[in-house]
Amino acid sequence: MISSYTFGIYPRSEELIEATRKNTENLDSLFQKETEEYISAQKNAGLGFVSDPLLKWDDIFRPFSNLSSVTPTALNRIYEMNTFYRVLSFDGQDLVGGGNIVQSNLDSSLPKNKTAAIPEPFTFAELHTSNKFKRKEDFTINLAKMLRVEIDSLVKSGFEAIQLLGPSIAYNNEVDFGLVSDALKILTSGLEAKTILHTYFGDVSKKIESLLDLPVSGLGFDITTTPASSIEKHSFSDKLLTVGIINSFNTAIEKPQECIKQVDEINAKTKPKESYVSTNFDLEYVPKEFAMNKISVLGEIARGAKDV
């Protein structure tokens, strides 16, 4: 048996979608009911870490629009997806929000073994704008400082693992790994929690050496875009390895035995310090019925895979 978790935004049910569109009186209670359903589903599946389904979040960056001097602006496509996020403009003097932006938007009923996901600074800076910090390097580093305050708050309230979402590292052909590393160092230095950097929306086969040098506890891979054969060429003896085995972009439900075999093969070749399985990215790209099935299958894969 190995450990497991999901991360990011989960899909709303048809009932909740309708309620949000019509702003019905029972909207808050529906949000709560569905949040609890997802938390129970993760517990019942035996996932190693449980996450908030973030049902109220319109996109993974939106809570940061509550920071002073941050303005939501135009819609922008999330990479090559048919889903859009709102670009935030950071116009103020300092990126300070008191460290409670993420924490205050998470459900308080999460169990002790809880995890939370936030965008890593390089991706954050790639997808948003700043009138204050004209140089991308400055923007990235200042975002990192802002995010560190958020992470400290999460860790203080008991989050054992922080998932760092880094799709731009995967998607962009050119990545300044020096900048990525400097920013991640700000996030992880002296932190008493696991930090796992997730790369998805692009093949990182040629970047794995650079990724292994980054100051994070572990790396997560979307194996629908980065072939397992590329990951297997590397040793993960100093890193945690998360195999994003569940495809959040297809309704086809994974066959547990095939997945277990694949995860065992990857782990046998990479010999990770610790092994995890997860979704490849946010489950919100499939409707709720399929997301629920996928959570259950994820737990089955984790239970069936050989311990490292």
Partner: protein, 336 residues
């Protein structure tokens, strides 16, 4: 068309509220619902004609929306549920669970009605194979390429062939997903060419703007069997009048099409469909004149909004189209 700078719509308009109320009401008879749809279609056709558009259609008033409508009538699909577009906006996404196949011409009633009620040139919008594939979950085919080509050959081609058989002369293949995956332009090109293979009509491809600014599309354009592309430009152009590159930032990519050897027509998007502000006729005139110069031939320029106008109110949409028609008139006067 002999006239310079012909004006046209892209496709969708916001549906009239009274029609929606009737068609959603379970107590309204089927006959009444048919009548309501016909009246709404007629209203759109006549309004567009009265404004002075040269090429018209019915504002897609009978269609649910561009993805869900065709998928409802194609074998091999099952709806999975709604998936977020942004915020609280969702679309109904389907799974491909078997071989895709054409069952019936799901636009026949719509086309026949428009044909019977307009003397203008008609442009029929049809959702393209690449977009249908890209916006679906594929649980059946081995690869996206395989699904795209199956949709092109087995769904879009028979549909287009049937529409042409009914008298359609201009078909617009709508491909908003086309430019979102720059690495997949080869399969996009093949999907269009397979969709139109052996069919005698004028083919127009509508592709929305993506971050790539049509740079991935440009090299493919001469190889795609389409006479015209209707594309978005206004949404990243300035609102200043003028014919210089600084004023016409959004249209500079036109030069790239020419550099890549594309000699066909461009339906230039001169009106931003994401804002309520109405572009002045003078601004539209300058966008047209700049485009004519960039393409090196004014006869290659058609004029339209960036995209379908269904996200705007009907009042704003028709005001925008009025301005487009006036702007085209001003541009014609300049060219005389």
């Amino acid at each position: 068309m002999s006239k310079l700078f012909p004006t046209q719509e892209i496709g969708s308009l916001k549906k009239p509220a009274d029609m929606l109320k009737k068609v959603k009401d379970p107590n309204v008879s089927d006959e009444e619902k048919i009548k309501a749809r016909n009246e709404a279609a007629l209203l759109n056709i006549k309004t567009l004609e009265d404004i002075g558009l040269d090429i018209v259609y019915d504002g897609e008033v009978r269609r649910v929306e561009m993805y869900e409508e065709p998928v409802r009538y194609v074998d091999g699909f099952e709806f999975a549920g709604r998936v977020r577009s942004w915020d609280n906006k969702y679309y109904n996404k389907a799974r491909v669970v078997g071989p895709v196949a054409f069952k019936q011409n799901f636009h026949a009633e719509e086309f026949n009605f428009v044909k019977d009620n307009s003397n203008r040139e008609l442009k029929v919008p049809v959702t393209g194979a690449y977009t249908l594939a890209d916006w679906s979950y594929d649980e059946h085919y081995k690869s996206k390429d395989e699904l795209v080509l199956a949709l092109a050959r087995n769904v879009v081609r028979p549909l287009v062939k049937d529409l042409v058989g009914l008298g359609a002369k201009i078909i617009q293949i709508d491909e908003p997903a086309a430019t979102t995956h720059p690495a997949e332009m080869d399969i996009f090109r093949e999907s269009i060419n397979e969709s139109v293979k052996g069919i005698d009509a004028k083919f127009v491809v509508h592709a929305c703007f993506s971050g790539n600014d049509y740079k991935a599309l440009a090299p493919q354009m001469p190889e795609i069997k389409a006479e015209q592309y209707t594309l978005e430009f206004a949404n990243r152009d300035t609102w200043n009048t003028g014919l210089d590159d600084d004023a016409r930032k959004g249209f500079q990519v036109l030069k790239l099409f020419k550099e890549h050897g594309f000699e066909g027509e461009i339906g230039i998007g001169v009106s931003d469909v994401h804002v309520n502000e109405i572009e002045s006729p003078e601004l539209i005139r300058d966008r047209i004149l700049y485009s004519a110069k960039a393409l090196g031939d004014p006869t290659k320029v058609y004029v339209n909004p960036d995209c379908g106008l269904r996200t705007r109110t009907r009042e704003v949409s028709f005001d925008k189209i009025r301005s487009i028609v006036k702007g085209a008139e001003l541009a014609r006067e300049e060219i005389k």
